[in-house]
C-alpha cells in the first residue's frame, strides 16, 4: 500500500514565527522523498503537519486523495519514526511493535504473526521479550522502525531517525532503510539535516530554507545543478566553491574575469552571458571539478596552497585565489607544500554561474 501525498499552500505559524510558508508539494506513490535543510528551516514542522501532530494554519493536506487536514494522526493512515525513537519504556519489544495493531483491534494471532515478521525483517526477533532499557541505541531504533512498518501504513514518516546513532551504525542503518523501502514500497517522507543521507536515500530531495522549498529534484541534479547559492553551499562535502567574477567580452568570446585572470566558459553560454557584460556574477565550482597543476601559467588560475589534508582516498587542499578561499579535491599522491603557488583549471561544463544579488542559478546551463 502506498499513497500519494499532496500539500496545498500549507502554512504553519508559531506565534509570530512562520515555520512553513505556503508550501506546495506533491509526493508520488512509493516515492522516497527527503526533506533536507539546516535546523530551523521548517522540515520537521512540515513532517509533523503531515502526521497531524501540528494543525496547519492554512492550506490543505491530502493523503491518497483523501483530505486529512483536520483529521487526528490516528485516522491518517500514517506511521512515524521519531528522532528520539519514542519506544515505550514500560512495554516489551513485542508489545511495542504490536501496539499499533492492538489499537486497531487486530486479532491476537495476527498481531503475533505480524510482529514476528517485521522483527525478523529487522533482525530483532531475539529481543522480543526485552524491555527498551535493555537495548542499545541501534536496537531501539530498529524497534521504532519495526513498530511503524508493522502497521502497513500508506505513508511512512521519519524524523531524523539516524541522527542519534554513531557513525558506523548510521552507515549500516542507512543501507538497511534503503533496502527496506525497496521491499515494502511505502511512500516515505524522511527528514534530515545530513546531506549525505539525503543524497544516498532520496528518490527526490526537497531542499528547505526559511520555511520554503528552494529546490525539489533528484539527488544528482540537486548536487550538480543547485538552484541557488544556498543549495550549492549546503550540499556536498566540501560545499561548492564560490568566486566573484566579472563578465567580459573579448571579440566574439565571452570570458569571466577573476581578478586579472580570465576564465573561458562553454561557447553555448556566450549569447546569454553577453547580455550581462560588465556585471558581477558568482562562479560556482565543486572541489572535484578543479584540476591541480604544480605550476601556474597559461590557462591556469594561480592559487596559493594554505593547507593540505590527507583524507585517505582523496586529498583536500585549501587554496587562496585573490580574496577567495577554495577547497580543491585532488589525488592523494600529489605532494603539496603550504605557501606553494599552483595552477588550477576548471572543468568547463561543471562551472555554474549565479546571480550576484538573488543568488539564483542563471538558466543557460540547460541539460
Amino acid at each position: 500500500m502506498a499513497a500519494k501525498i499532496q500539500l496545498l499552500n500549507v502554512r504553519k505559524e508559531f506565534g509570530k514565527v512562520v515555520a512553513v510558508k505556503d508550501m506546495n508539494l506533491t509526493m508520488n506513490e512509493a516515492e522516497f522523498l527527503v526533506l533536507l535543510g539546516p535546523s530551523g528551516c521548517g522540515k520537521t514542522t512540515t513532517l509533523r503537519c503531515i502526521a497531524g501532530l501540528e494543525r496547519v494554519n492554512k492550506g490543505q493536506i491530502s493523503i491518497g486523495g483523501r483530505d486529512v487536514t483536520n483529521l487526528p494522526p490516528a485516522q491518517r493512515g500514517i506511521a512515524m519514526v521519531f528522532q528520539s525513537y519514542a519506544v515505550f519504556p514500560h512495554m516489551t519489544v513485542e508489545q511495542n511493535i504490536g501496539f499499533g495493531l492492538r489499537m486497531q483491534h487486530v486479532h491476537k494471532a495476527e498481531i503475533q504473526k505480524g510482529v514476528r515478521e517485521v522483527a525478523e525483517l529487522l533482525q530483532i526477533d531475539e529481543l522480543l521479550a526485552r524491555y527498551p532499557a535493555q537495548l542499545s541505541g541501534g536496537q531501539r531504533q530498529r524497534v521504532a522502525v519495526a513498530r511503524a512498518i508493522v502497521m502497513s501504513p500508506e505513508v511512512l514518516l521519519m524524523d531524523e531517525p539516524l541522527s542519534n546513532l554513531d557513525a558506523l551504525l548510521r552507515l549500516q542503518m542507512r543501507a538497511e532503510l534503503k533496502r527496506l523501502h525497496r521491499e515494502i514500497g511505502t511512500t516515505t517522507v524522511y527528514v534530515t539535516h545530513d546531506q549525505i543521507e539525503a543524497l544516498s536515500l532520496g528518490d527526490r530531495i526537497a531542499v528547505m530554507h526559511g520555511g520554503k522549498i528552494v529546490q525539489l529534484d533528484n539527488p544528482r541534479r540537486v548536487y550538480d545543478q543547485p538552484a541557488n547559492r544556498f543549495v550549492g553551499g549546503f550540499i556536498g562535502t566540501p560545499p561548492m566553491n564560490f568566486l566573484r567574477a566579472t563578465v567580459n567580452v573579448e571579440g566574439e568570446e565571452v570570458l569571466l574575469a577573476v581578478g586579472e585572470f580570465m576564465i573561458a566558459v562553454l561557447e553555448t553560454w556566450g549569447p546569454q552571458l553577453k547580455k550581462l557584460t560588465g556585471q558581477i556574477v558568482i562562479l560556482g565550482i565543486r572541489a572535484e571539478n578543479i584540476a591541480v597543476h604544480a605550476e601556474p601559467g597559461g590557462e591556469r588560475l594561480p592559487a596559493e596552497v594554505i593547507v593540505s589534508e590527507h583524507l585517505g582516498s582523496r586529498q583536500l587542499l585549501t587554496v587562496q585565489v585573490g580574496e577567495d578561499i577554495l577547497k580543491v579535491s585532488t589525488n592523494p599522491d600529489l605532494v603539496m607544500q603550504p605557501e606553494q603557488t599552483i595552477g588550477l583549471t576548471f572543468t568547463k561544463r561543471k562551472l555554474r554561474v549565479f546571480d550576484e544579488k538573488t543568488g539564483s542559478i542563471l538558466s543557460f546551463h540547460g541539460e
Partner: protein
C-alpha cells in the same frame, strides 16, 4: 586522590548516620515505650529495652474511648482527600506540564499563593462557612480542607512527573492509533505511576498528620490526631507513648509499601531524550 575520595565517602556516611539517628531515635524510643509493660514506664532507673514484650499498653490505647472510631475517621478522611487531590491534581499537573496556554505562569504562581494563608487564619471563617453549608463536623468537610492543603504540593509534584515523561511517547502513541486521551491513559499515565504514587503518599501523610484544622472543624467526628490532642493532657504517660507510636506507624508502613514505585523508574529510559 583516592585517599581524599575515601575521606569524602567516610564523611558522607557519617553524616547520613547522624541524620538517620536524629530521625529514628525518637521513633524507636516511642516504639519501645509503647510495648513496655505499664509499670516499667514509671520505674526508675528506667531501662531502655523493656524486660518483656507487652501489648498491654497498646491494648489500653486502642480500647480507650473514641480511639477506634477516630482511627476509622482518619483513614476515611485521608482516602477521600487522596481521591479529591488526585482527581483534580493529576489533570492540573498534566495541563501545566504539557500545554502552553495563556496565563500558565500566573496559574502556577496562583497554585502556590493559596498556601500564603496559614490554616490558623482560615480555620474560623472556614468553620463558620462549613456550619452554614452543613459541612461542619463532617468527614467530607475535613477532607476538603486537607485537599486544599495538599493540592498545591500535589500539583507541583505531578507537574514535575509529567514533564519527565517525554512528549514524543504520547505523540508516537497518537500516530499509532490512539486518541489524545488514549495516549495519556496508555502511555503517559503508566509511566507517571511511580511519581503519582509519591504524590499520593505525600497527600496521605499530610492528611493523616493534620491536626489543627481537624480539631477546629470537628466535635463528634474527630480524626485520630484531633482525638489524641484533645485527650492528651488528661491521659497517662503510657497512653501518650502508644498514641504517638500509633500515629507514626501508618506513615511508616505507607512509605515502605510505596517505596518500590519510587525507585522503579523503568531503568532510566523514561528520562532519555
Amino acid at each position: 586522590m583516592n585517599y581524599r575520595r575515601l575521606q569524602h565517602q567516610t564523611l558522607l556516611y557519617m553524616a547520613a548516620v547522624v541524620i538517620a539517628l536524629w530521625v529514628l531515635m525518637p521513633i524507636v524510643l516511642i516504639a519501645l515505650a509503647s510495648f513496655t509493660p505499664k509499670q516499667e514506664i514509671y520505674a526508675w532507673p528506667k531501662s531502655i529495652i523493656p524486660s518483656h514484650f507487652s501489648v498491654e499498653t497498646m491494648k489500653y490505647f486502642l480500647n480507650s474511648y473514641g480511639v477506634l472510631s477516630s482511627l476509622l475517621n482518619s483513614v476515611l478522611v485521608a482516602v477521600i482527600t487522596l481521591g479529591i487531590t488526585l482527581l483534580v491534581g493529576a489533570p492540573a499537573g498534566y495541563a501545566v506540564a504539557r500545554f502552553i496556554f495563556r496565563g500558565r505562569q500566573v496559574y502556577r504562581m496562583g497554585i502556590l499563593m493559596t498556601r500564603m494563608f496559614p490554616t490558623a487564619l482560615l480555620a474560623i471563617p472556614l468553620a463558620v462557612t462549613f456550619i452554614k453549608w452543613g459541612l461542619y463536623d463532617t468527614l467530607i468537610g475535613v477532607a476538603l480542607l486537607h485537599s486544599a492543603i495538599a493540592m498545591p504540593f500535589a500539583v507541583l509534584i505531578i507537574t514535575g512527573i509529567f514533564v519527565s515523561v517525554p512528549k514524543d511517547l504520547e505523540e508516537a502513541a497518537m500516530t499509532m492509533g490512539c486518541s489524545r486521551l488514549g495516549a495519556f491513559a496508555r502511555v503517559a499515565l503508566p509511566l507517571a505511576l511511580p511519581g503519582l504514587a509519591a504524590a499520593a503518599m505525600f497527600t496521605f501523610v499530610i492528611s493523616w498528620n493534620e491536626v489543627f484544622g481537624a480539631t477546629i472543624l470537628t466535635v463528634q467526628h474527630r480524626t485520630l490526631p484531633a482525638q489524641i490532642l484533645s485527650t492528651l493532657s488528661a491521659s497517662p504517660l503510657y497512653f501518650r507513648f502508644a498514641g504517638g507510636f500509633f500515629m507514626v506507624l501508618p506513615t511508616l508502613v505507607f512509605m515502605f509499601l510505596i517505596r518500590r514505585y519510587l525507585f522503579q523508574m523503568w531503568g532510566g529510559a523514561t528520562t532519555e531524550k
